[in-house]
Symmetry: C2
Amino acid sequence: MSELRYNRLKDTWTIIAEERAKRPHDYKEYTKEEATQIENCPFEYGNEHMTPPEVFAIREKNTKPNSSGWKVRVVPNKYPAVSPQTPLDYFFRCIYDNVTGFGYHEVIIDTPDHFKQIQDFNKEDFQYLFTAFKERLKALSNDNRIKYIHIFKNHRKEAGKSLYHSHSQLIALPMIPKLVDTQINQSRSYYKQKERCLLCDEVMYELETEERILYKNEKFVVYCPYASLYPFEIRIVPYPHSYSFLEIKKFDYLIDAVKVAVKKLNNTLLDPPFNLILYTSPPKRDNYKIPDYFYNIEIFNHWYIEILPRITTHAGFELGTGYYINPVPPETAVNKLKQE
Amino acid sequence: MSELRYNRLKDTWTIIAEERAKRPHDYKEYTKEEATQIENCPFEYGNEHMTPPEVFAIREKNTKPNSSGWKVRVVPNKYPAVSPQTPLDYFFRCIYDNVTGFGYHEVIIDTPDHFKQIQDFNKEDFQYLFTAFKERLKALSNDNRIKYIHIFKNHRKEAGKSLYHSHSQLIALPMIPKLVDTQINQSRSYYKQKERCLLCDEVMYELETEERILYKNEKFVVYCPYASLYPFEIRIVPYPHSYSFLEIKKFDYLIDAVKVAVKKLNNTLLDPPFNLILYTSPPKRDNYKIPDYFYNIEIFNHWYIEILPRITTHAGFELGTGYYINPVPPETAVNKLKQE
């Protein structure tokens, strides 16, 4: 059973999760076995018994849960950082503050195809994947103990992906994570000053100058942010304003935008490792510490997806300061990406 | 010329530094040439001309600056993130806020011995190294434009060290970095509530329970923090209270403590990559944004050294939330370390 411990000096939380250490060993590269021998892969058709029972799937007609025939399949993580079986409780050990390891840690198996990675996904694959994102977001928002649902995808070992078969992850927590909270607070204070959304202003300015725009379609704009923390960082932002991933009715334009971003990144940097992260608004709750935290959140908070390529190593500077050194200006990055 | 760009959404700064991309290529492992062919290494005796002129050195008698005969040598980084030649200026580009890339980025060449790494350092090596830290801290504190001096050491490629020959780094900036600011603010608000220092309380509790203590001597305590963000994270803290590295008169006890920490880590994890970070108090300045920011800083802020082993990969969870998953409880870590 894991637990969350508050690091008061650094004002953040760490999940102490011994279970995680039992994961398939973190080799630097996938072994040939892992990459090719599908019989041992828990994400294959016929191996559904190798994972905990599914909580969601899109399936061919007349196929049963936990059997083959699925298009996308969501299962609890076998080595969870947090678990819904753990009762939510807040406690202390003398000077230290803790929360039990309550939450949801799920794996979204993107595709039944062992060899298909995100750069190979077609429109349908993305349609299934984003539907799974939305359905799990919706379902877990109904658990009142959950304050935020974090969805992300690690692409390649160097970005923290432990199994070769393409998958995404979801971690739902009884608190709003530090960086999400920062973004909400920054957007909130900007709105208070300007009565405009921070990310709307940014998108409008970026569209005007066109200096860092990689692509746009009717509903999404894709660009390298002005103060990119990572080389070749890409932001995919809906416009006009939308505050939650749950607002999307049809995924067509999002799929188009994500496909372009992934393709260009893949062609420019030759299949680089990256993390894809979804930032959306937390479900509204009554018990949040700041009285107006959720007031107008539909207007001031803007959901988006970011892609963070992992081609540089963060060292003592980044770890110690929380600042970043980025050797590739986003203007240079976007020009290279555009050429591909 | 680099520049600092403010990332408003994430409330942090990124240094856009194209110069850094010209560094020796970031291979995953050192090439055999790099590790063995000392004639190309800019940190060797006789190769002093391969670096910018030194700003500090401890030397044998009658040796000249920028010639051999030094014990430790500090030079400006050849590929600097920030530079003292850049005039300090604050500016904007429409909606974006910037600071010019003013600052100091220096390399501390720990030892003239190409093959000696930190786990091999003897008492004298550490004596030279910490003297260099202190002298540069003191010297750069006198530049009123500088608000913080960050000193760190990257050990092995996987922790971001680009050249094989052992070295440390210093980056001095015209602002107090986000994470340092967080720690000061957390310590400050704790002191306001309790009239006691946060880290003093932690050290006292740790000494009492002994659950996470790895080692102590007359002036330092070495332990794995309760809410360790990294597996096998180690904190080396002076006691009784001390607010600045500049307060140390004699390095004996610090050297003893650091040697034990490095040796035990090296034996337990077999020479793991790690970052060693020095957190000390910023020099007092008149122009800080919070009126009482520096008031009582000598009492509430506590300097320390931390060692962050890089044996796990941060993925979409850590990057997106600012929270951490640590699969090794510090209680387990300290027991393993103690056995070595």
